[in-house]
Symmetry: C2
Subunit: 324 residues, 2 copies
Amino acid sequence: MRLVEAVLNGDRLALARLLTQVEQGTPAGLKALDMLFQHTGKAYLIGVTGSPGSGKSSLVNRLVYALRHPIGDASPKRVAVIAVDPSSPFSGGALLGDRVRMRDLAGDAGVFIRSMASRGNLGGLARATVSSAQVLDAAGFEVILIETVGAGQAEVDIARLADTILVVGTPGMGDEIQAIKAGILEIADILVINKADQPGVEEAEQFLRMMVETALTQKDTDDEGKRWSPPIVRTIALRGEGVQNLLDVIQQHAAHLENSGQSQERVRHRLEYDLINRVQERLLARWWGEVAEAAFREMLERIYRREISPCQAAEQLVEVTNQL
Amino acid sequence: MRLVEAVLNGDRLALARLLTQVEQGTPAGLKALDMLFQHTGKAYLIGVTGSPGSGKSSLVNRLVYALRHPIGDASPKRVAVIAVDPSSPFSGGALLGDRVRMRDLAGDAGVFIRSMASRGNLGGLARATVSSAQVLDAAGFEVILIETVGAGQAEVDIARLADTILVVGTPGMGDEIQAIKAGILEIADILVINKADQPGVEEAEQFLRMMVETALTQKDTDDEGKRWSPPIVRTIALRGEGVQNLLDVIQQHAAHLENSGQSQERVRHRLEYDLINRVQERLLARWWGEVAEAAFREMLERIYRREISPCQAAEQLVEVTNQL
């Protein structure tokens, strides 16, 4: 397949076209994914999640820039961004000021930005994100930043597939703190207080520290070596302050994952998630091929008339195809 | 089943227990859902979606109160709230002030509040929400308000299952406007500008009106009778202002759906969504029962070693069970 070869040779236009096919799940896209898969497994995935307004897009922007222009004699990383948040400037849904800032990255061949805004329906988003990350990984991007809005469940699930998960808040969090209380905190590897020049930063940090400690004592702490207490890092993304420090903390987390064996666990978890999704997709596709459209419509009418429940109807429809 | 009977007889404790079983998808829960299904199809579903901070919880609170205390000689409706947003006060994730306000509704037997915060994983949330709505419908609640955060994809999909969808914003929307631009607007039946006493309300309304008109001209407008231009309604939920008017507009939308035949379309769409989910669930469950755990683990290791792609592995694993 020429598109696959072109992608492996660094052709950006081919990459964009292949990503579209892969995300849409076309036969050619799936075929390409099969061919590319052996080249995956090298990229480091960073999930960045937080409410709109937390400045996480600016932070992603700065992280990309810092990875491209490392201090000292470290070599620049090839970086990709997958923007799942529809309000992200990376998805084209941003204010003018943000778009202008994105230009820092434009024209850099070591950076590739992909927007997943409004792709597919329920479940499709996570699958498409996993697939896109695999393609970008195979294409040689060493760090992949996945930006999701912290509020939605699919988005939280997507972030959970990363190696390091950043949860971004701001000093005057208010509602965001509520979201943190309600589950986001549990998945954070690193907590970022962005806009740290705004009032209330001390209180926010104290609050988060308390939350982290509470969460930690509730967790299973049998395995000392695997324990990681999420550090709280302050940044001012608009001015680039604290970003290098954040990168250092991300590297510490990566080292921790490596040393504790959790790195492989996370990769296995990601692949298992992908496999089960693929199985489910294939089972449903096979079922659609076997069930008669008329039988399905007829069953739907019976449900509509309340003669049968959706569960019972599903049982019957699945049984029928089983006997073929 | 005694629990089902108790629910049909208005036992609130039984209802809460049954909802838990149904949401968790236990065998007893699924059985109960089958038995209750014939009693569904009477409730009107209202989706309320918007970012944390838009005040949608306060608005839901006021809508419930207004439905319970109608003007004139209309009879009060029995109302249920399903809170999918983890930051909603209905989910217990709120500031003290909000919780206190919720007390207006406490002790009213015609009101039932159910929190879906942090239930299940990807896809599970939507399924659990549909199931819960069916149980509440069967239990005789005439209006069901489903509150979701407007940012996540699963949440948008959930809102889409309602009869009338409210999208709630505020005058100083900023980031929320971006989210609206990026897809939320398309699903809105009614746009609500809450906190309408704040500065910028005129600009927000002008902006939304422009967006609505743009969206409308892009839509298929062949079928004049089905066309509905989403009205923009101002509210100040904290003071209850504009809430009665909003209820009137919801009723106008309900009448429009009825007259244009779209009411039945939405119900059919909802049932079809439920049926396909059930089929998918059942197919996967059957597959798990047939595939050997060892074969699955072995395949996962082969994927981990990059010997086979997840797609190819899924194909083989599904083929094997097919030959049984």
